[in-house]
């Protein structure tokens, strides 16, 4: 068995054409991840450019209104580019530069990872090309233009379901055609090893900070840490430093779309089965013959038929729980947190907020929840308006 396993999940199921390159990436990452110069440069970018550490905000109004556990929000929405994606891309693009690459490619669903990659590429002088499913370029037209403003070339992916999984397919195909000068900056804790580990490490800054911040504020660990899960990068980053704190419940909230009992869903943990796809063994939404299912969610960022292998492992060993949240619940949460706390959270993050609204009232007042807001929701306003039957012209 090859490397990069989380239990039976993970691995490197990719074309031979990419194997030497992926080994080079492994070596480069091993070399630089503890290199003082590299980590100092990344820390500096995180601090001075991305705006880290992100706030751990005590949502007092929500806490009172829901009448149960104390609610803290880890505000990744306040990062430069408006989501947690910047944590990963600064690390990966910096790594690409150290490897002597001059060009980065990336997939994007909602556009957040694409925007973040385009941003890091602009800052660090790299050529940048983004692959985005045609459906998503329509749902998130503003982000397409944003990436172009940042100097990236955006390819509209016309194959398959024209969403995130097809954008990943397109990126993998492009990478097999051109590896010498190009690094594929994968946006989530998925794909072949070493991506799930690299992305988790760069995203674990979320839980490293949150753990320190909550200990400082409350003098104790939280009872629950929760986040939304598509591929799972913000959730993995939010969970990672708490995994060894057995008393902390970890909850991932996935997109149920119209519901897990319908075929319009993207809730991989609820309806998926074990499979091998996009370079990894994990859980996938698929039929009895292993054809990957056309998934659906209102959220372009959670609209993915798989989940990162480390999440699959955390589920298998019972360390983390995964719950489905429907479009309707997420939209209600989107509206709720806007009115209650004055925060327009991403529709992705609103999936976590929706489940938070269910569990907080059932918990005791001296209990603590940390919920990660993975991104801000400006990009979603028009789509939410459409969902509510209002036609906005952006």
């Amino acid at each position: 068995m090859g490397s990069g396993r989380f239990g039976e999940h993970g691995g490197q199921y990719i074309p031979e054409t990419l194997m030497n390159e992926i080994h080079k990436l492994e070596e480069a990452y091993e070399k630089y991840k503890n290199d003082p110069e590299f980590t100092a440069e990344l820390d500096k970018l995180n601090r001075e450019y991305a705006g880290r550490p992100s706030l751990l905000y005590y949502a007092e109004k929500m806490t009172k209104a829901l009448g149960g556990a104390k609610i803290y929000l880890k505000r990744e929405d306040l990062n430069h580019t408006g989501s947690h994606k910047i944590n990963n891309v600064l690390g990966q693009v910096l790594l690409a530069k150290r490897m002597g690459k001059t060009r980065v490619i990336a997939e994007t669903g909602a556009g957040q990872h694409g925007v973040a990659t385009a941003t890091a590429a602009a800052l660090l002088d790299m050529e940048c090309e983004i692959y985005m499913g045609r459906e998503d370029t329509v749902r998130q037209a503003l982000n397409v233009y944003r990436m172009e403003l940042l100097g990236a070339k955006v390819h509209s992916v016309e194959s398959g379901t024209k969403t995130l999984k097809d954008a990943v397919n397109a990126c993998m195909r492009e990478w097999t055609a051109r590896v010498d000068d190009t690094l594929y900056v994968l946006g989530s804790v998925m794909g072949p090893h070493p991506f799930p580990t690299i992305v988790r490490d760069f995203q674990s800054v979320i839980s490293r900070e949150a753990r320190e911040q909550i200990l400082e504020r409350e003098g104790r660990l939280p009872d629950v840490v929760m986040a939304c899960v598509g591929g799972g990068s913000n959730a993995m980053g939010s969970f990672y430093e708490f995994i060894n704190d057995k008393e902390v419940r970890l909850i991932g909230c996935e997109a149920a779309g119209h519901g897990v009992d319908t075929d319009k869903t993207a809730a991989t943990m609820a309806v998926g089965t074990k499979g091998i796809f996009h370079g990894m063994k994990s859980y996938f939404c698929q039929n009895e013959y292993g054809q990957i299912a056309p998934v659906y969610s209102i959220s372009a960022g959670l609209d993915y038929p798989g989940v990162g292998p480390e999440h699959a492992y955390l589920k298998d060993i019972g360390r983390a729980e995964y719950v489905p949240v429907t479009d309707e619940e997420a939209v209600q949460a989107f509206e709720y947190i806007a009115r209650e706390e004055g925060i327009i959270a991403a529709i992705e993050s609103s999936h976590a907020v929706a489940h938070l609204m269910k569990i907080a009232p059932q918990m005791k007042k001296d209990q603590i929840i940390i919920c990660t807001l993975s991104g801000r929701g400006d990009k979603d306003v028009a789509a939410i308006a459409r969902y509510r039957g209002i036609d906005l012209h952006e």
Partner: protein
């Protein structure tokens, strides 16, 4: 030992690829027989997959056509059984690993043996991950074909030493599809392979002309053509049989002696 070696016995091999179930499985059976009649030594049957990441647009579309027509792994096995009643031509599958994983490695390889499939090419199963499948496949005399790429370099030796059936040399970077020019030093790759094994070597990816068939069969033991064949099927659909016969005959005439 599988029958694959027969394809290379005493001659260069022309290997034709088509996507099973495109446009229907009845036609797949007819097309395989047409290709054999035209002189193909081995036929690769692609098992359609929703997300064929190693394939270019031509084969992607064939996958969609086949899946839309209701093609499944079980129906393909039935078709192979039917083909086997008419011909002994070596047959291999080209599949993505999830198809086998979901079917069950053991159940899949067992069905291959029962129906007469001699090998499986898996573009998303690299050398490092072969261990979970190869011992099971061996139990049923199914060869898991090794793919060697232009970027394989120092990996070639260990991969070739482990190979059975034939070795698939990927001529170019990127995905499947016709190319006007192939720049990789195939001669050097074949030389390294020959140093460690007698397993036959065939070159694929991008080949679509008689001249390319000649060039690469001269450097190796055979040439593989996929997208160009699938394109003919895409264009002529149910009526593609005669065109396939003509095209494959021409390609076969290009084989080096």
């Amino acid at each position: 030992m599988s029958k694959i070696y027969k394809a290379f016995e005493g001659k260069k091999a022309f290997i034709g690829f088509l996507t099973a179930g495109d446009p229907t499985l009845e036609k797949t059976e007819e097309f395989v027989l047409e290709m054999e009649r035209a002189g193909a030594a081995l036929v690769e049957l692609g098992i359609p997959f929703s997300d064929p990441i190693a394939d270019g647009p031509v084969i992607q579309e064939a996958n969609i056509r086949a899946l839309s027509a209701g093609c499944t792994t079980d129906k393909i096995f039935d078709t192979v059984s039917s083909i086997r009643r008419k011909t002994e031509i070596p047959l291999v599958f080209l599949a993505y690993l999830n198809t086998l994983y979901k079917y069950g490695y053991d159940a899949f390889c067992k069905r291959c043996q029962e129906c007469g499939v001699d090998g499986v090419i898996l573009p998303d199963l690299p050398f490092e991950e072969r261990g979970e499948l190869v011992p099971i496949a061996r139990k049923y005399d199914v060869d898991i074909i090794t793919m060697v790429a232009p970027t394989s370099k120092e990996r070639i030796q260990k991969m070739a030493a482990d190979a059975t059936g034939f070795i698939y040399v990927v001529s170019s970077m990127g995905v499947t599809g016709a190319r006007s020019e192939i720049k990789t030093d195939i001669k050097e790759m074949v030389r390294i392979i020959r140093n460690v094994t007698d397993t036959p070597v065939a070159v694929g990816f991008g080949i679509n002309t008689k001249e390319q068939v000649h060039q690469f069969s001269e450097l190796s033991d055979g040439a593989i053509v996929g997208s160009a064949i699938v394109q003919i099927i895409g264009r002529y659909g149910n009526e593609a049989g005669e065109k396939l016969y003509e095209y494959v005959s021409e390609m076969v005439s290009g084989l080096a002696k």
